[in-house]
Amino acid sequence: MASGEETLVHEILSGDVNSYALLVKRYQKPIYNLMLRMTGSEEDALDLTQETFVRAYEKLEKFNPSASFFPWLYTMGLNLARDFLRRAKGSPIESYELENSSSIESDHDDRLADQIDGQHLLQALQTLPIDYREALLLRFHEGLSISEVAYALGLSVSAAKMRVHRGVLKLRRLLMKQ
């Protein structure tokens, strides 16, 4: 758990709303960016980020304070975003499934490492299926452990490990196509 979070949660549950402001400040950026990726709209992202934090506050009694707060919060945000997209009947972010993962390994040469850059990577990430994209971002951008990624995405640890691994391979394949 991030430093001092257990104490913060205790203070919030004892009635101190200002301590919750600290948690909001700490995690507003990744949650807001999750919503931006999911909706493609700043306005919707702001609404959904707010909703995520309000919902998390309302359910805080159910949170195990010795666990990490962020994966728990993220799960809530992801579910809210998915509900939002279902209501909106489809994501504005186009994603396409690649072929079966067994065919993902590529025979391409080793030039990719020198060619890819951040811009290409972002474009490729946006075309990945949501589950793979979020697994990669949680693992490599947020620095969560595999077990935390598993918790955030509602997977078993082995499934999360596989999701991350396949996600990287899918991304590599997409980057090679560009």
Binding site: S14, D16, V17, N18, A21, Q50, H141
Partner: protein, 200 residues
């Protein structure tokens, strides 16, 4: 020892992981925390819930707690005298909001780290932004400007006026809001005083 060489696939995967780590996220709007706080109410746990949580919270052991009860009481009393009273009768309360008067007013301490300043005041919505702010005192021991306010439950905006001209927000405040005139006000929320410590 022989060199460990990575094949091209491993190089790619590592490069991809590194690039993902370096992605620059957009900043969340400044108003977000404020909007969230406007929608929530302080939790009001029952005595039983408090006790249950207390039991579930690991206790930290300090050397003081290892002293016999009598010695601890004397030590606490001496510490309180040192912390709460300064010379010439000036009272210093611990940082934050933690005392409730008979009228339901809470004692709030504000600090500003501006040793270069010669005069500092707090101005804010607690006195309708009156030009006459609450003068802060220079605390030599802490090396900080200090103000003590007595406020009711509610939400307040405030700022520091340094040397009668410069308006600065409280760098310790968690929440800030644009005042529409190119400055930022700090926000202070005071809870219900129901035995729950509330911080700035």
């Amino acid at each position: 020892m022989g060199k460990i060489s990575l094949n091209s696939s491993e190089k790619d995967l590592r490069r991809i992981a590194g690039l993902i780590a370096d992605i620059r996220y957009a900043e969340a709007p400044e108003c977000l925390a404020e909007k969230v706080l406007a929608r929530i109410k302080p939790k009001n746990p029952t005595l039983l819930e408090r006790l249950w949580r207390r039991l579930r919270t690991p206790l930290s052991i300090s050397p003081l707690s290892l002293l016999p009860a009598g010695a601890s009481a004397v030590a606490i009393f001496a510490l309180a005298l040192t912390l709460l009273w300064k010379d010439s009768g000036e009272r210093i309360v611990p940082q934050g909001i933690n005392q409730v008067s008979d009228q339901g007013l809470r004692t709030v301490m504000l600090f500003l780290d501006r040793p270069d300043a010669t005069d500092v005041e707090v101005i804010g919505s607690f006195n309708k932004w009156s030009q006459e702010g609450v003068r802060m005192a220079w605390d030599k021991d802490r090396g900080l400007w200090v103000a003590v306010l007595q406020l009711k439950q509610g939400s307040y905006e405030y700022a520091f006026r340094v040397n009668n001209r410069e308006i600065v927000p409280d760098p310790r405040a968690i929440l800030k809001r644009d005042d529409g005139f190119g400055h930022q006000n700090s926000i202070l929320i005071i809870g219900d005083g129901n035995g729950n410590e509330t911080r700035i």
